[in-house]
């Protein structure tokens, strides 16, 4: 049921992703809270949808999201689950992803979107936690 909700959210947020990169937040959440295999496939699917919705080069976002997803899956076993660490990890993940995309396909680096996304991250994670796991924050 949760997996279905993730895909539903993916489709809902896709058209608004240029305002707040809520999909990155969603992937981060899935990677940290769900099964590793599902998280990987979800990252891949997310990248594929972005490639199709904003067609630049098919396969590019797919590869980036899969690679970053895998990296996060590897790192998550070393990361303590507290709000500050989670926020810092997300900021680094999101910044790295944005910079790579900016360098490779010259996508404009929108500082406003970046700041809004980082600012929205914790409330969004709390809402997702509350909706899916009935707790505000996993510590």
């Amino acid at each position: 049921m949760r997996y279905l909700i993730y895909f539903l959210l993916l489709y809902i947020f896709l058209p608004f992703n240029h305002v707040v990169d809520i999909l990155s937040i969603l992937i981060f959440f899935v990677i940290f809270n769900e099964d590793n295999r599902f998280a990987l496939i979800f990252s891949f699917f997310n990248g594929l949808l972005i490639d199709l919705y904003h067609p630049v080069s098919l396969g590019f976002n797919t590869l980036i999201y899969t690679a970053f997803g895998m990296a996060l899956l590897y790192l998550k076993q070393f990361i303590i689950k507290d709000p500050l660490t989670t926020l810092i990890t997300f900021t680094i993940f999101y910044l790295s992803k944005t910079i790579v995309i900016h360098i490779v396909i010259s996508s404009p680096f929108n500082i406003q979107t970046f700041l809004i996304t980082v600012f929205v991250f914790l409330p969004a994670v709390m809402i997702l936690n509350r909706t899916l796991f009935k707790i505000w924050m996993r510590i």
Binding site: Y11, P15, Y53, S57, L58, T62, L63
Partner: protein, 275 residues
């Protein structure tokens, strides 16, 4: 790390690399087919949002057209009973503007709008909203203007009762009042009060408000008529600026009344109409 996980990761990376390695035509063909299936729900949402956006724009356009037609209709109705020889039809044009500032307490009734000299606005230009009369332009800046609304105590508008044809002046005191209505003049609660057009500024036929209360006072000549304004100034976000050729007709009238030579040498008694 689990072997399954690595297998999945490798497969996904290989698929991504295959996508990247495809030629332009194959890339395009696959994208088309995949988006038809995968982006179907997104397309529905996007199309619905586009439909809403287009509908909003269409409503704005129609609102402007309705406002223009209302003004034109009133002008034409008025002219049916007069000799219209030599008159050019008045073509009112409306320009929509957004309210960008207002006095929070609404003590002075001024509104700031996002149009200025750059949009050919001028002082004393009539301002309406979709519901009726708003006021007139008081100050014109380069890219913004100030509108003196009906809520301001300084404003006075020549008006008439559409049902009984009684003329008077609408002005704001403590309430919005329809002033100079004689005790024996027929006026009823619920009557609509429109601009009369007997002014250099306001065209006829703009709804100002409706009669709320009629009260006899100590005044032996006039009675007090209170109005409910048709436009709630605190509730409006968009207004329409009226561009019309009213002054053109007035100038025509001026020309017709100008006396022929040799009286032309006399100083004209008729005032010039200025914007």
């Amino acid at each position: 790390m689990l072997r399954h996980q690595l297998t999945i990761f490798s497969s996904l990376v290989i698929i991504s690399i295959i996508f990247l390695a495809l030629g332009q035509e194959a890339d395009f063909s696959i994208s088309m087919r995949l988006s038809q299936v995968l982006l179907f729900p997104v397309k529905i949402i996007t199309q619905y949002l586009q439909f809403l956006s287009i509908s909003k724009m269409r409503i704005d356009e129609l609102e402007t057209i309705v406002g223009e037609l209302k003004l034109e209709n009133t002008e034409l109705k008025e002219r049916i009973s007069y000799d219209t020889t030599g008159y050019e039809p008045v073509n009112y044009k409306l320009l929509k503007a957004q309210v960008i500032g207002r006095d929070p307490g609404n003590f002075d009734g001024f509104l700031y709008i996002d149009k200025g000299k750059a949009d050919s606005l001028y002082i004393n230009q009539p301002v309406t909203a979709s519901n009726g009369f708003v006021g007139k332009v008081k100050y014109v800046g380069d890219f913004y203007s100030i509108v003196e609304t009906i809520e301001n105590n300084g404003i006075a508008i020549s008006a008439f009762d559409a049902k009984t044809g009684v003329y008077g002046i609408v002005r704001k005191e403590r309430y919005l009042i329809f002033d100079y209505i004689k005790i024996y003049d027929e006026i009823n609660i619920g009557d609509s009060i429109y601009t009369s057009g007997m002014s250099e500024i306001f065209p006829p036929g703009i709804l100002i408000g409706t009669v709320q209360m009629i009260r006899k006072t100590n005044d032996l000549l006039f009675k007090e008529v209170r109005l409910i304004p048709s436009v709630k100034i605190n509730h409006i976000f968009f207004i329409h600026l009226v561009f019309g050729s009213k002054t053109k007709n007035l100038q025509k009238e001026t020309k017709r009344t100008t006396a022929p030579f040799p009286l032309q040498n006399l100083k004209p008694l008729i005032p010039e109409f200025k914007r």
